[in-house]
């Protein structure tokens, strides 16, 4: 039996290969490099690899190819998503690299395996041990996300899903403070994530059973060529999209979101809230637009239900939150609903508006969590809203930056959030889903209430004894925060270049 190895376009895959190689090296550094230079080496590897990857993605602009035996597709939308993921990862990694905010060092547990409250942990802290295991995990997660948006078949997409998930489960549990909360979040994320993966696999099996292929373009073909539609394939499709919908955190797959947002180290939340969303929407778009593009009317109602449920539930429950990280978790759920409104349009405008929204959201999120990591009191981060009273009086600049992000998320014009919402609504009305837009408008109003509430607490409330203080960070966090502010404003005032880039990116390669 002859085995012909598939032809591989190494240049097109180079952005991923760089990250993969760096991840391996990073593991080796963790094992063999002396403790004193470990952090330096890791930072060099991580930022070097991410920047190289970003450059390679830019050099690949215009590539439209299917490679690796049909398993990987590099096309315009994929490159846009990859670029966004890598840039957001750089900013997220900068948050994780911060060491001047926490007096002890960084915000990660000295050894994630030591029991909370144990003698072991106490000693590690006393000696001032800091770990760098977070870096190889980060690189693997980034690799998984890049694969997720380029996967052209069901199996590679599953592998990518797992490569994203496993490092993130671990990173969630690594908080230095409030470790039990962090570990609980991690466990919850893991258990629910495993369920979602299982659903995905089962769905993939059903779809394969119907179409006889795992490749998206061939699935699309079989759906249009077979005379009778089978209920099996639609059950399969429904289970399949649970995978990405879980990662997105859309209702009813959202239960993990608030816990993870609250429990995980803030820098990690900033990183994954921004990047994983991009990746998951990329994958969801590809499944629905490429594999099931011909049967839009069969999946649209599903997406409508999920979108409406996410918008309404997310914004209403967020009203009741007193912890700012949990609040942002629910706010994310609502935002996911808005993006799904655009995705449901199943048109080029839907694709562009969805991508614009996740880009805009990603940068605002990194910036938001940069601010949250800086607001601290004696016990670490002050995430209770009561501790934020009057912050705007003490540190007007930082509070103004956060207000900008929040007003952006609320959709006030001249911020990226407004342009995103506008683009999504245009796509939806063009596709005839006016009623969905009206629900979106109502949910936006509810959402505006809690975003504005934070602004009120920061600026209008009197500072109390509980009020936390804003720590001056090092260049790492400052860069992330500034980038978030800049992108939020630029995409709000001059969105045209990015809109051009998205429309030049064209459609998915089928």
């Amino acid at each position: 039996m002859n085995f012909t190895p598939p032809a591989i376009d190494y240049f097109a895959l180079s952005p991923m290969i760089v990250i993969f190689a760096a991840a391996i090296v990073s593991v080796l550094v963790e094992a063999f490099a002396p403790r004193t230079i470990r952090r330096f080496l890791q930072l060099l590897i991580v930022f070097g690899a991410l920047l190289t990857s970003a450059v390679l993605i830019v050099l690949n602009a215009g590539t439209r190819t299917v490679t690796g035996g049909g398993a990987v597709v590099i096309d315009g939308p994929a490159l846009v998503m990859m670029g966004t993921i890598v840039v957001l990862s750089i900013l997220g990694a900068a948050l994780m690299a911060e060491r001047s905010i926490d007096p002890v060092g960084d915000s990660f547990a000295a050894r994630a395996s030591s029991l909370p409250g144990s003698e072991d942990e106490r000693q590690l802290t006393q000696r001032g041990y800091l770990q760098t295991e977070i870096w190889p995990l980060t690189l693997f997660a980034v690799l998984g996300m890049l694969l997720f948006v380029t996967a052209n078949n069901l199996l590679l997409m599953f592998v990518a899903l797992e490569i994203i998930s496993l490092p993130l489960y671990l990173m969630t549990g690594m908080a230095r403070r409030r470790r039990l909360l962090s570990q609980e979040a991690s466990l919850k994320y893991f258990l629910l994530g495993v369920f979602a993966s299982a659903f995905y696999l089962y769905g993939a099996a059903l779809v394969y059973g119907y179409s006889g292929s795992i490749f998206f373009p061939e699935i699309a073909q079989s759906l249009t060529s077979k005379p009778s539609e089978s209920i099996v394939v639609f059950i399969g499709m429904g289970m399949l999209i649970i995978g990405p919908l879980f990662k997105i955190g859309a209702v009813p797959f959202h239960q993990w979101v608030p816990d993870v947002y609250q429990g995980a180290p803030t820098a990690v939340v900033g990183f994954m809230a921004a990047t994983v969303k991009v990746a998951a929407f990329g994958a969801l778009l590809r499944i629905l637009y490429v594999a099931f593009g011909g049967v839009r009317w069969d999946w649209d109602p599903l997406i409508w239900i999920v979108a409406v449920a996410s918008m309404i539930l997310g914004s209403i429950v967020a009203l009741l939150q007193t912890d700012i990280k949990r609040l942002l978790g629910y706010s994310w759920i609502a935002q996911a609903g808005f993006i799904l409104v655009g995705l449901a349009a199943a048109s080029p405008a839907g694709l562009e508006s969805t991508m614009f929204y996740v880009i805009a959201y990603g940068f605002a999120t990194v910036g938001t969590f940069a601010v949250i990591s800086m607001v601290r009191d004696a016990n670490g981060e002050a995430t209770n809203l009561a501790a934020w009273a009057g912050i705007g009086r003490k540190s007007p600049l930082v509070a103004s930056a956060l207000s900008l992000f929040l007003l952006g998320l609320a959709g006030i014009p001249l911020t990226s959030g407004f342009v995103s919402k506008f683009a999504v609504f245009v796509a939806a009305i063009e596709a005839g889903a006016t009623w969905l837009v009206i629900i979106g408008v109502i949910a936006s109003l509810i959402a505006a209430f809690f975003y504005v509430r934070i602004v009120v607490i920061m600026f209008f409330a009197e500072p109390t004894e509980q009020t936390a203080s804003v720590v001056v960070p090092s260049a790492f966090t400052t860069i992330s925060l500034s980038a978030g502010v800049a992108v939020t404003l630029i995409l709000g005032i001059f969105p045209q270049p990015v809109l051009d880039m998205l429309s030049n990116a064209g459609l998915f390669l089928r």
Binding site: R393, L407, A410, G411, I412, P413, L414, F418, V419, K421, F422, A423, F425, V426, I429, E430, T434, V437, I438, V441, I442, S444, L445, A448, F449, V452, R453, V456, F459, F460, A461, P495, Q496, L499, D500, S503
Partner: protein, 524 residues
């Protein structure tokens, strides 16, 4: 100089001014005020210079036009230009800003409790001025929407950081109401854009292109509601008014003047500029409902004002009643009625400013109490203050000789022309207006001096030079335009006629025309 980008320049100057003010050190509040004052005077000067070049007889729909592509992907342009209506409202804004800055000279300073810096307030005022000019100058509906929404942010901070004890509540209520309207307008805006894609091939927000479309009546009715909702909340029309009394009661007098005097006009301006021409069929369809709401507003507002115990709330409800008149004039679709509405917008801006500022000066002399019952007999100790208050009150009740009379009279005339019963009903509203306005003056200014005004270290002194300087221009404009309205009418009428031409409602044949009034004016 005709190619000079007047409108952009007039908008950019206060924006730069606000940046300069915001970057000043906190220790120099005086310098911040002086710069803000100078900037606002420069803007006023530029506005006057522009207004003098405005050609009242031009057949062009807009003058001082500028247009640059902004977001081509959505067919959005940065397009500005003014017709007569836009021009007088920009002039109103440019006049009231220096007045409020001067009047608020001391207001912010003494306020240790709200700690918001002095320069912050004046920077916000200047930002707001730039946005107000933008909202009246925009000829691209998207651009209009952007100004419409962004305006909320400075006002929100002006109410929430510099105001009375309940300011935070009032600020949130104001913001949420406005956002609610704004979001429905956004949905309608998107809908309008999609309609333009289907009709014109490529989407546009250009006002004249949108007016040229022929939208089917059912779509018009839906889109109309989205815009109307936003404008009715902003104006505010009954029953969307409940945010106004709270906002007015908790704001600094200067904030209230800009909010009610100018900002709320965006609602009625939007009706006449956007609703009628873009959705003519729907406007006709909904006219009876809107007129009904306007009538209820006239009476409800006046009735509550009659029983109000708090001066600022009284002014807010009386404004609501006045906005009923303005809306009524717009929706009777007669040239006289609509011209009257625009004149009324200007007049109401001036009378609101006079009322809030005089009352503000009075209150600053009695520990910021707004209760009418805390005053009485003020004209014995402060005759100048009482005099200005009387002018303000008379202007509010539209005494002949005040510019508000011209507006109210024309609105009623227009209403009579179209629906005689509506005109008759609305005329009854004037009686209640006179009742609450005179009652306010009588209770606070005449009679024996209220003992509490001399107790506890309160002393009512008369107005000082700065305060008189602030009130003088408003009082003068009110009277001068009352006797000589021709300059106003000459620029407003052509713009109104153009609107009516688009709406294509036949004018009722009553033989009434404005010619007599404006030529009579010009003879003087």
């Amino acid at each position: 100089m005709t190619d000079f980008p007047w409108l952009t320049a007039i908008g950019v100057v206060p924006l730069i001014g606000s940046l300069v003010v915001a970057l000043l050190p906190k220790s120099k509040p005086m310098l911040a005020k002086q710069i803000a004052m100078i900037v606002s005077l420069v803007v006023l000067g530029m506005t006057i210079a522009m207004a003098l070049q405005f050609d009242g007889k031009s057949t062009e729909p807009f003058q001082f036009v500028e247009s640059y592509p902004w977001i081509p992907a959505f067919g959005v342009n940065y397009s500005v230009g003014v017709d007569g209506i836009g021009l007088v409202l920009i002039a109103l804004a440019a006049t009231l800003v220096p007045v409020t800055i001067l009047a608020g000279w001391r207001d912010i300073e003494g306020d240790q409790e709200s700690e918001g810096s002095v320069k912050g307030y004046f920077a916000l005022v200047l930002v707001l001025e730039a946005l107000m000019i933008g909202v009246f100058a925009a000829t691209d509906v998207f651009l209009f929407y952007v100004f419409f929404e962004v305006m909320l942010v400075p006002v929100y901070f002006m109410i929430g950081r510099y105001g009375g004890p309940q300011r935070s509540y009032a600020a949130i209520k104001f913001l949420l109401y406005s956002l609610l309207g704004g979001l429905f307008m956004l949905a309608a805006l998107v809908g309008l854009y999609v309609v333009s894609i289907r009709q014109l091939g490529s989407g546009t927000f250009d006002f004249l292109a949108l007016v040229g479309m022929d939208i089917d009546p059912n779509t018009q009715k839906m889109l109309f509601l989205g815009f109307f909702f936003a404008f009715a909340i902003k104006a505010p029309l009954w029953p969307f008014h409940t945010w106004l009394p709270d906002a007015a009661a908790e704001s600094k007098p200067g904030t209230s003047v800009l909010l009610i005097g100018v900002l709320d006009k965006v609602g009625t301006f939007g009706m006449i500029r956007y609703l009628l021409p873009i959705f003519p069929a729907a406007s006709e369809f909904y006219a009876p409902v809107v007129i009904g709401m306007a009538l209820i507003g006239i009476f409800y507002g006046a009735y509550i004002a009659l029983t109000a115990k708090d001066m600022k709330r009284l002014f807010a409800y009386s404004s609501m009643s006045h906005f009923g008149f303005i809306t009524l004039g717009i929706f009777v679709f007669t040239s006289i009625g609509q011209t009257g509405s625009v004149v009324y917008m200007v007049a109401h801006g001036l009378s609101t400013a006079a009322l809030f500022l005089t009352a503000g000066f009075l209150m600053s002399r009695r520990r910021e109490s707004a209760l009418i019952s805390d005053y009485g007999g003020v004209n014995k100790v402060a005759p100048v203050l009482a005099g200005f208050f009387l002018v303000a009150v008379l202007s509010s009740l539209a005494l002949p000789g005040m510019v508000s009379f011209i507006g109210e009279f024309l609105v009623l005339l227009g209403a009579f022309e179209r629906y005689i019963w509506v005109g008759a009903l609305a005329t009854l509203g004037i009686v209640i207006t006179a009742a609450y306005a005179l009652r306010l003056y009588q209770k606070s200014m005449t009679g024996p001096l209220n003992p509490s005004l001399e107790a506890d270290g309160n002393t009512i002194t008369d107005l000082k030079g700065r305060e008189i300087t602030a009130l003088m221009p408003i009082a003068a404009l009110t009277v001068v335009l009352g006797f000589y309205p021709a300059p106003l009418l000459n620029v407003i009428e052509p713009a109104v006629d153009r609107t009516l031409e688009i709406v294509q409602v036949d004018a009722p044949d009553s033989g009434l025309s404005l010619d007599g009034l404006s030529s009579e004016g010009s003879e003087q």
